[in-house]
């Protein structure tokens, strides 16, 4: 691991540790939600990271699709970032649920943000399944890139649809669906910003590692194939030329 990567990892670790202290000890409890609100400091950055990760996937996919910039690295980056994005999306959903239970009284709400995040999760789960259908970037690159871009563009449409749906269903009971916390004092907004920074560093570290892994495995895939063909040739088998 290069020194820069080690530094990134250390920075991520340090910021996450300090986040834990800030979030659990230093930041004051919320006037309305009490200590349950502390889950905001992990739920919000997880959700933010998911969107960032999928944005990176979309950009990398576009770069793959545009022939002039096409390169295996973009395909591998798209896949790596999406995988991390799915992990963060799942995390955001679970944390949102844990936050919602004491705050809303329910484990789930069908509001715009929660619903869109759930759809997002399934969209990219499908993307990850699609990635497993091709062993090399050449084989899977275009399909996956198109799927990633469609998914990315669909998300705001879904969000808009559900928001519209919500406004038609204004409940008489004031349910604090939005989980909006009033930022009071200095430590609450500071900790929130810190959490986003910490998670972003973590993302950068993880995606670099994941990309490294993908490159190694892709290289092995290609060399395995070459080796298998070379062995057949040496053994005297005729090299298959399309169709068995």
């Amino acid at each position: 691991m290069s020194t820069r990567l080690k530094l990134l990892g250390a920075a991520a670790a340090a910021s996450l540790l300090s986040l834990a202290v800030l979030a659990l000890v230093v930041a004051p409890e919320d006037a309305r939600q009490g200590d349950a609100q502390r889950l905001m400091y992990v739920h919000v950055p997880a959700a933010w990271l998911a969107y960032l990760a999928f944005f990176v996937t979309a950009v990398a996919s576009a770069l793959w699709l545009w022939k002039r910039t096409r390169s295996t690295t973009w395909d591998l980056l798209a896949g790596s970032s999406a995988e991390i994005g799915v992990v963060f999306t799942a995390l955001a959903l679970v944390l949102g649920s844990l936050w919602g239970r004491p705050t809303w009284g329910t484990w789930w709400e069908w509001d715009a943000r929660v619903t869109t995040t759930a759809v997002l999760f399934f969209l990219y789960l499908g993307y990850l399944a699609l990635r497993r259908t091709g062993a090399t970037a050449e084989a899977r690159g275009t399909r996956c890139a198109v799927a990633a871009l469609i998914a990315f563009l669909d998300v705001p449409v879904v969000h808009f649809s559900v928001t519209w749906w919500e406004t038609l269903h204004q409940d008489a009971t004031v349910l604090n669906r939005e989980l909006d916390v009033k930022m009071e004092g200095f430590w609450m907004p500071f900790t929130l910003v810190w959490s986003v920074v910490a998670f972003t560093l973590l993302y950068a570290f993880l995606v670099t590692l994941r990309l490294r892994l993908a490159e190694l495995e892709e290289g092995r895939e290609a060399s395995d194939l070459e080796r298998a063909i070379a062995e057949r040739v040496r053994a005297g088998d005729p090299v298959p030329v399309g169709g068995s």
Partner: protein, 39 residues
């Protein structure tokens, strides 16, 4: 508001567990890939 600490602890524990598990899995796969061992 003490009864809500359970949720907070659960949430932070899930976060640490998930990220550690993913990190560990990555690390394992990287080591195997570097050594050139088949899956």
């Amino acid at each position: 508001m003490d009864e809500n600490w359970g949720y907070v602890v659960a949430g932070y524990a899930v976060t640490v567990a998930t990220l550690s598990a993913y990190g560990a899995w990555l690390w394992q796969r990287l080591r195997r890939a570097r050594r050139g061992v088949g899956d």
